[in-house]
């Protein structure tokens, strides 16, 4: 292995892989990828000097000589079944960062709907690879633009309603995987999308790094339920950036569950593009071992009469470290904004920690904005009450934790989807409780 | 005392009051009754001068002087008191502090010296006793954490302290049980005098058993469609609004 500096090493990895990446024969795409890798080299990895990266460092990534995954791979059927939704869906499975056609099944789509893996979306590639912005913070998404090997393109024309959920499952591997998604809903279109990041099972010890960028545009009056379940191996690194724009009268509901990584960061930027829109973002963080799990949000109320709600819950055990940064900006013209935010944390071990920074920047006066944060252990009185009814203490704790998590689980659309998320959460709690954690 | 002439008023560009004529003489109590949405509360806000309630035609004369160009506080100081249907909460401001500021603002306008703290407390406590209010209410923040009934009683208490010339009671009976209603009515009646008038806005006849009006008006779709004596209220109770409105049409 070479001992090249980190950014140069990755630039080299790009050069080596360039010919096999989607769009390798399209000059525009290649130019864009080259510009992106150059931008990444210039910017480097984000670090503590950036206010939005104050609590999360990526030094661990720099210590590893990353390779891009081998081209082919397949997933063990049992593993796929365990990870998949127990309901009819449009399923796109990615293994080794590539679309696995055999494991996937895209059902019949209504007219005006496009649903493809990025590797087959030649006509949209340049669009999909467009930069996430121009700030220093975009270095990871530029790296992603350069190296993206696949992802999902979902385009719905005005009024198109998908009756089945779109299910994206990626199996992590011990390599650097870059997935890039474009989800664009026209006016009054409706969809439900589940992104699942799962343990590929290659090795418990070898770390993989999944780097995801998702661009989401919700048209006027459209509705999108967007669920994200990050549940890779405990050795995994996961970085995701989502940019969402929400049109007038639209509704965007996002639920993010983080439950398996050594280090995971989910950064979400939501821009209100039209008035009377509603955004609900909820998160559940389950940290054990020495997991470092970060949610960073920026909700930008740029137009009047919009509502946003954020609810984040953290269960932190062992040496776990949770980070919640919730930014709300209300622009001067965004009168009648209603923006609420709440972060709650249970610290369950002596070495567990949380850093939270709920930030309100308010430049309009006729607004209702609030945020709250609470940090503590499981309520002793509740625990005692349950013990007094004869419930063993471990069981009582697990029940209380499950109740704590339920509020977020409940934000997932009812039915198979919610059952799926709930099963994961309950499974995590049970497994940790059994091995003597969550005390 | 109060002369309302061909009063038209709009809220958000929508005409709610469509030509009201009404005269209240000193010492009289008029009841304004009408179904929901007839413009009763709008009339009270227009009289008190609330922003956003625009008078497009007509005039309101109070002792011969037009109120239209006066700010809400100027009307209050002239002696117009509105007991709110939904009294507003003001966190952190003690009832006593608030009321003393109000009493002294009104006194100043009348050329009287400020009421000193001792006199204020003595007067306030006496009035509270009449209204069977706990003295502790003086130290609590204005209307904050008050029950519906407590808020209404607090309105009547403020009225007693400010001694207005014209009291407008906007659905003061809503949310009150029968005992509270009696107490509030007694409070209002205690203020009745040949110099003072009142406009009692209510949906139900019940309150008028206790505050007996001299005149009853029925308001519908922004107009007074019928005027009569106190028996009109009983007739309304018996027949309902629909019949009266149909008769008048």
């Amino acid at each position: 292995m070479s001992a090249l500096p980190f950014t140069e090493h990755l630039a080299g990895a790009y050069e080596a892989a360039a010919g096999s990446l989607p769009g390798a024969k399209d000059a525009d795409v290649v130019a864009r990828r080259k510009a992106a890798i150059a931008a990444f080299q210039r910017l480097g990895l984000p670090n503590h000097k950036l206010e939005s990266w104050k609590f999360t460092g990526l030094n661990a990534l720099e210590r590893q000589q990353w390779t891009l995954p081998a081209n082919d791979g397949s997933v063990d059927p049992a593993r796929l079944q365990a990870a998949a939704l127990n309901a009819d869906s449009h399923r796109l499975v990615f293994v080794n960062g590539r679309f696995d056609a055999a494991a996937s099944k895209i059902g019949s789509l209504p007219k005006g709907a496009t649903l493809l893996p990025l590797s087959q979306a030649a006509g949209n590639l340049a669009d999909v690879l467009a930069a996430a912005g121009d700030k220093r913070e975009i270095s990871l998404s530029e790296l992603n633009a350069a190296l993206a090997s696949d992802g999902v393109v979902l385009l719905l024309e005005d009024g198109v309603v998908l009756d089945k959920p779109v299910e994206i499952i990626s199996f992590g591997v011990p390599a650097l995987v870059n997935l890039r998604h474009l989800i664009r809903l026209g006016a009054k279109a409706e969809a439900t999308v589940l992104e699942s990041y799962r343990d590929g099972g290659a090795s418990e010890k070898l770390a993989g790094w999944t780097n995801v960028y998702a661009h989401v545009a919700v048209g006027a009056g459209a509705r999108l339920a967007h669920i994200r379940l990050q549940a890779e191996s405990d050795a995994a690194y996961h970085a995701a950036l989502g940019r969402v724009s929400v049109g007038a009268g639209a509704r965007y509901a996002h639920v993010s569950v983080q439950g398996g990584a050594a280090l995971a960061r989910h950064e979400l930027h939501v821009d209100f593009a039209g008035s009377d829109a509603e955004v609900d973002v909820q998160g559940l963080v389950l940290a054990h071992g020495s997991a470092h799990l970060d949610h960073t949000l920026f909700l930008h109320h740029a137009v009047p009469d919009c509502r946003s709600n954020q609810l984040f819950k953290h269960v932190v055990d062992d040496h776990g470290h949770a980070v919640f940064q919730g930014g709300i900006r209300v622009a001067p013209q965004a009168q009648k904004t209603d923006a609420q935010q709440l972060s709650r944390t249970l610290l369950l071990a002596d070495r567990a920690q949380i850093d939270t920074k709920p930030e309100l920047e308010i430049l309009a006066d006729d607004v209702k904005c609030s945020h709250g944060a609470s940090i503590g252990d499981v309520d002793a009185q509740q625990l005692f009450y349950m013990q007094a009814r004869g419930i063993p203490v471990a069981e009582a704790r697990r029940l209380l934790l499950s109740g704590f998590a339920y509020e977020v689980v409940n934000a997932v659309p009812e039915g198979a989807l919610r059952d799926h998320v709930e099963a994961f959460v309950e499974g995590w709690l049970a497994a940790n409780s059994e091995k003597g954690g969550l005390k | 005392m109060l002369e309302i002439k061909n009063l038209h008023a709009t809220v958000d560009g929508k005409e709610i009051l469509r030509g009201i004529d009404l005269t209240i003489k000193p010492g009289e109590v008029h009841a304004i009754m009408g179904p929901n949405g007839s413009g009763k509360s709008t009339l009270s806000y227009v009289l008190a001068g609330r922003d956003g309630y625009e008078v497009t035609e007509g005039d309101i004369l109070f002792n011969g002087q037009s109120l239209l160009n006066l700010e809400p506080e100027e009307r209050a100081r002239e002696g117009v008191f509105l007991a709110f249907q939904y009294p507003v909460e003001i966190p952190g401001v003690a009832n006593a502090t608030f009321l003393r500021s109000a009493v002294n603002a009104v006194r100043k306008h009348r050329g009287l010296a400020d009421m000193d703290a001792m006199t204020f407390l003595k007067t306030a406590k006496a009035k509270m006793k009449q209204l069977q209010m706990d003295e502790k209410f003086l130290q609590r923040a204005v209307n904050q954490g008050f029950s519906g009934g407590e808020k209404k009683r607090n309105e009547v208490f403020q009225m007693a302290m400010l001694e207005p010339k014209l009291a407008i009671l906007d659905e003061t009976d809503s949310g009150l049980d029968i005992d509270a209603l009696k107490i509030v009515a007694e409070g209002v009646n205690a203020l009745r005098s040949p110099e003072r008038s009142a406009m009692v806005i209510t949906h139900y006849q019940r309150l008028l058993d206790y505050i007996v009006p001299d005149v009853v008006h029925v308001l519908s779709k922004g107009r007074i469609i019928k005027t009569g004596g106190k028996d009109l209220a009983l007739e309304l109770e018996a027949k309902g609004y629909a019949d009266i409105i149909a008769d008048a049409a």
Binding site: E51, P332, Q335, T345, L347, L348, A349, D350, R351, A352, Q353, I354, D355, T356, K357, P358, E359, L360, E361, I362, L363, A364, D365, V367, K368, C369, S370, H371, G372, A373, S374, I375, G376, D377 | A48, R50, D51, G52, E71, P72, E73, A76, F84, V88, E89, I90, P91, G92, V93, T97, F98, L99, S101, A102, A105, V106, H109, A141, V142, Q158
Partner: protein, 486 residues
């Protein structure tokens, strides 16, 4: 004649807005503008300081030079202003008559100034029970009541005097809470501080009266760099008040003070500030840059430090009175009202660093923005691994008056102990039309209504102030917000 009357009217009008905006005509000794090692040596020599103090200052100056070169002024706060030319400031200004034995020797002009400010320098203060150390520009002018306090073993004197008379205490504690290199302005202050107050309360003594300092910047283009050091020994108690005013001037003036508090076992310090420096005019011309470092250390078990501040003045406020809760069961409190009107900018808050077991902190912050002002609460609550059973409750409320101002909340919460309990709440609202109309319907003018509602909004903080200060603070709130509605 007409022009004359008009001038008087104008002046009166201005005085109504900022009534402390007069300039006192006193002969003063003014060091030429500019900052160099010589400036530091001059100040130190002027005060007859011992060598160790000069060395300390010079170390600070060298650190500051390095900071200025490497990073410059801190840029993370939500305030903006043109870069300060540190060579365009007078670092020393003192009224000429010096070394005063009694109040009778104080320049009558100066006494008249304090009278205008409403500070009880003479007999009245006995009734009020306030002992005042008045700092005029850079020099502590008179410390009253010294004799009475001395009998109890309490030291209340100017910093210059303390350096000379109580070197062992100063050497032990100066810079022990705010290290020399803590931050850009604190380091500058350490190099050039001219005077300030020093307080030492011996073990077991309960200071029988409120101690008070009144700061005033009079000279143009003068920086004021006071240094206050307050030590409350085991089981002692003191309540300290601080007030600030400055004349109206078109250019900005820098005020970079450092306040250090030390509370030993079972000691309690209450520190209240009413800050009413000149905020600049409606268009943001002039006003004080108030860049202040205030920090207290709860060194001993069960010690308590309580900061209360009412910040209505200054063009820019950059201030985070903090408490380091080292002792077990120690208590830190921060009660703040910050008003920013017109073009004012305030970035203020606190840090509560929990190290001791069962340490508790409370933060109540009320920010009011009006005009085009920007008002930011910035705070840190940090619970260290050893701070078992730590508790914090924070409440930060912003009130916006008008649609051109901003109210921001940036709390950092870092918890590394599971048995800690931390709660934070923040709200942003405006004065509702309903509340305004309700008050006006009862006869209050619009301005009185605003003032009443704002005072209600700030009540939890105002009631923490000593009575005389609370009354002044309430009036200040009203005055500061004049012209903010309508």
């Amino acid at each position: 004649m007409a022009a004359n009357a008009q001038t008087i009217e104008t002046v009166e009008g201005l005085a109504g807005e900022y009534k402390y905006g007069f300039v006192t005509d006193i002969e003063s000794e003014l060091l030429p503008k500019g900052l160099s090692e010589d400036t530091v040596r001059f100040i130190s020599a002027k005060k007859g300081e011992p060598q160790w103090m000069l060395d300390w200052r010079l170390r600070a100056y060298k650190s500051w030079l390095r900071m200025a070169k490497e990073k410059g002024e801190p840029g993370w706060a939500k305030v903006s202003y043109p870069e300060i030319d540190f060579q365009d400031i007078h670092y020393y200004s003192a009224p000429k008559k010096k070394t005063l034995k009694s109040l009778d020797e104080v320049d009558p002009e100066l006494l008249a100034t304090y009278e205008k400010l409403g500070i009880p320098l003479k007999e009245r203060e006995i009734l009020a029970g306030v002992a005042v150390d008045a700092v005029f520009d850079s020099v502590s002018v008179a410390t009253t009541f010294k004799g009475k306090l001395k009998d109890m073993g309490i030291i209340f004197c100017s910093m210059s005097e303390a350096v000379r008379e109580h070197p062992e205490l100063v050497q032990k504690y100066l810079g022990s809470v705010v290290p020399v290199t803590d931050n850009f302005y604190a380091t500058l202050n350490s190099a050039v501080f001219s005077d300030g107050s020093f307080v030492y309360i011996p073990p077991g003594v309960r200071c029988p009266m409120e101690l008070s300092t009144y700061f005033r910047i009079n000279e143009a283009k003068t920086g004021q760099f006071e240094r206050t050091l307050l030590i409350c020994d085991k089981g002692a108690y003191v309540s300290y008040l601080e007030g600030c005013t400055a004349p109206m001037r078109d250019d900005n003036q820098l005020h970079a003070a450092v306040v250090e508090l030390v509370a030993m076992e079972d000691a309690e310090i209450r520190y209240a500030t009413v800050q009413n420096w000149y905020p600049g005019d409606k268009n943001g011309k002039g006003g004080i840059y108030n860049f202040v470092t205030k920090r207290g250390a709860c060194r001993g078990a069960r010690s308590k430090i309580s900061w209360t501040q009412v910040e209505t003045g200054s063009a820019i406020t950059w201030k985070y009175p903090s408490v380091i809760l080292q002792g077990d069961d120690s208590v830190g409190e921060f009660y703040s009202v910050a008003v920013a009107n017109n073009a004012q900018q305030a970035d203020t808050g606190t840090k509560m660093i929990h190290m001791g077991k069962n340490s508790k902190s409370t933060i109540i912050s009320k920010g009011i923005s009006a005009g085009r002002a920007q008002n930011t609460y910035r705070g840190l609550v940090r619970v260290m691994p050893g701070a078992a059973g730590a508790r914090n409750y924070s409440q930060c409320d912003s009130l916006l008056i008008g649609d051109r101002c901003g109210g921001h909340t940036v709390p950092y919460i870092e918890v590394k102990n599971r048995s800690a309990k931390v709660e934070h709440e923040a709200t942003t609202s405006r004065i509702s039309d309903d509340q305004l109309f309700y008050c006006r319907q009862r006869g209050l003018s619009e301005e009185d209504a605003v003032s009443t509602i704002v005072n209600g909004f700030c009540k939890e903080v105002l009631q923490k102030l000593p009575m005389e200060f609370a009354v002044e603070a309430q009036k200040l709130l009203g005055v500061s917000l004049e012209g903010s509605v309508g």
